[in-house]
Symmetry: C2
Subunit: 331 residues, 2 copies
């Protein structure tokens, strides 16, 4: 079953890992947000891509949700001695990723080619595609003025209230042939429990990308999402505070409203804790599955992914009986 | 006493360290070769500068003559996993140097400013100046064709015979204000026992630099060198093979011929082993001191530096009795 998953960083990486566990090699394509990308110490850094890459390669640091397991910090220590600001922490092995990528970019390679080569080199059985090959930078208007995303996210620890979000460069970004082809050949589209504003938001804003997903939906391809906000709180990161700051409801219902406004979803998975939101969400359009959505282990990642894949298969089967995943024996 | 030392990598760094030990803080300026500089893994690397920097900062790896003491190799290991060629070995702390520099260069800073800031950050009491702020690249014609310097030096371990040497970009390189000022205010000029062809050669080829040294000489500033070839063999690196390959004599006399052709030297220090070459060298112009020139310890670096400084002081005193370093008591 060919699956496309739209993902940001940690939560997206966990669900992508669950999907990869449940699918055959080559069946999963992850389209990752590039709006958080940045330049530091002369390096081009792709935080969301790399979190997904390290997770799918089985080398992610399990505790913190970013970086490589067993990292050392010699480069950062020496950069600090040279007087550099080191609030954006980069482990030594992680720096190799950025050096490799930066050298390839300087050599003229497309980000998509580089991403595919990195996945291949690290033995990842899935495809991880940047949402676009052009530079897009998420900028946030806060009470402290306009900030770069990582300035807000890492340096200021997400303390300023966010009043407005812009994806700089998005108008001139274009859908890559690889993303287009992945969506066109997908049998299921999954929206990871990533931040709907600054992780999934930029992906959907790439000109032509949402239209491809809507075209897939109209061909009967199920689009299945999962809320990263549980009990009104983001499982990780500032999605809840951002939604409140922007005047939206910080809840699975708020997430559903965002996606429903784009007619994106067939089905939203929400946590048991949010059971009461199921009917209000259904009233917006998408159907709802209530389950355990918090991925605390490798097996819980796989279980949630399996439930989402099964729900999508069931939906396809209902639309087209020939696609029934478990055809009943004829009488 | 204000001293300018022209230096390449390891041998130059050792003598510069001896000079720094013997001089007051701020009295030493080292002008380093930049012809060996290269780009690897998106980084701009200055091998000779960095060897001098680490040595003068007291953090050099004592055994190998390059890199920082106690290095780790996490970045290289991961770059290899990504499929990169890693024949040019870069330690983790060393990579911080290159990241800092590359970021500053991309930000538009001059190499000289960057070098001065790095020395300051690492607490070096001397000034280390790139020979020029423009890009110069040493290229070698060998029986295998034209090679970049580090390709020949590191990757091919100096095995091909060198038939011709070019410093690409040297015509458009210009003397920096800092180098000019250092030479103009120098009281002694020292030529380190570095490779005369590819370490000292590029420095002297920077348009205007040799002329400044000759002007200093004509003002009575002593120029004192030391041969890095002892008993016909280079103490380190391929200077002996290069000289032979180019049809020159691989000996202290060959070194003297090179420098005498440019009327560079007042005095050449040679090793006791080369005692027999003293008269033939004197016949070329420079005076000769025969001593122990091999720097095997910190104290032998200081001792050789002291001898060179004393010889220069004596020479200045002879030319101008007012400058006599130990004025005799009047009777």
């Amino acid at each position: 079953m060919r699956v496309v998953c739209l993902a940001g960083g940690v939560g997206g990486a966990k669900l992508a890992d669950g999907l990869q566990q449940e699918l055959a090699p080559g069946e999963l394509t992850v389209i990752v947000n590039t709006g958080d990308d940045l330049e530091r110490h002369s390096l081009t850094i792709w935080p969301d891509h790399d979190t997904v890459l390290y997770t799918l390669a089985g080398i992610a640091e399990p505790g913190q949700g970013w970086g490589i397991a067993g990292e050392t910090w010699q480069v950062m220590g020496q950069l600090a001695r040279l007087g550099e600001e080191t609030w954006f922490r980069l482990g030594d092995k992680d720096i190799a990723t950025h050096l490799y990528r930066t050298a390839r970019l300087r050599g003229g390679a497309r980000p998509t080619e580089i991403a595919l080569d990195m996945s291949r080199a690290l033995g990842v059985p899935s495809r991880i595609l940047p949402m676009t090959d052009q530079s897009v930078r998420t900028r946030l208007r806060t009470d402290d003025g306009w900030l770069d995303f990582q300035d807000y996210f890492v340096r200021l620890r997400q303390t300023p209230d966010v009043r407005e979000v812009r994806f700089e460069g998005i108008e001139s970004a274009s859908l890559t042939p690889e993303c287009r082809e992945a969506i066109r050949s997908a049998e299921t589209i999954v929206i990871a429990p990533s931040n709907p504003i600054v992780s999934i938001g930029p992906i959907l804003a790439v000109p032509g990308l949402l239209a491809e997903i809507l075209a897939a939906r109209s061909r009967g391809v199920p689009t299945v999402g999962v809320s990263g906000i549980v009990g009104g709180k983001a499982l990780r990161g500032p999605a809840d505070r951002m939604m409140s700051g922007l005047g939206e409801e910080s809840s699975a219902l708020g997430v559903a409203r965002r996606y429903a406004a784009q007619e994106l979803l067939d089905l939203l998975f929400i946590d048991r804790e949010d059971d009461a939101l199921a009917d209000p969400i259904r009233a917006l359009g998408p159907d709802v599955v209530v389950t355990d959505t918090i991925m605390t282990s490798n097996s819980s990642r796989a279980r949630l992914a399996r439930e989402m894949l099964d729900a999508a298969a069931a939906m396809r089967a209902k639309r087209d009986p020939a696609m029934d995943p478990e055809p009943r024996a004829r009488p």
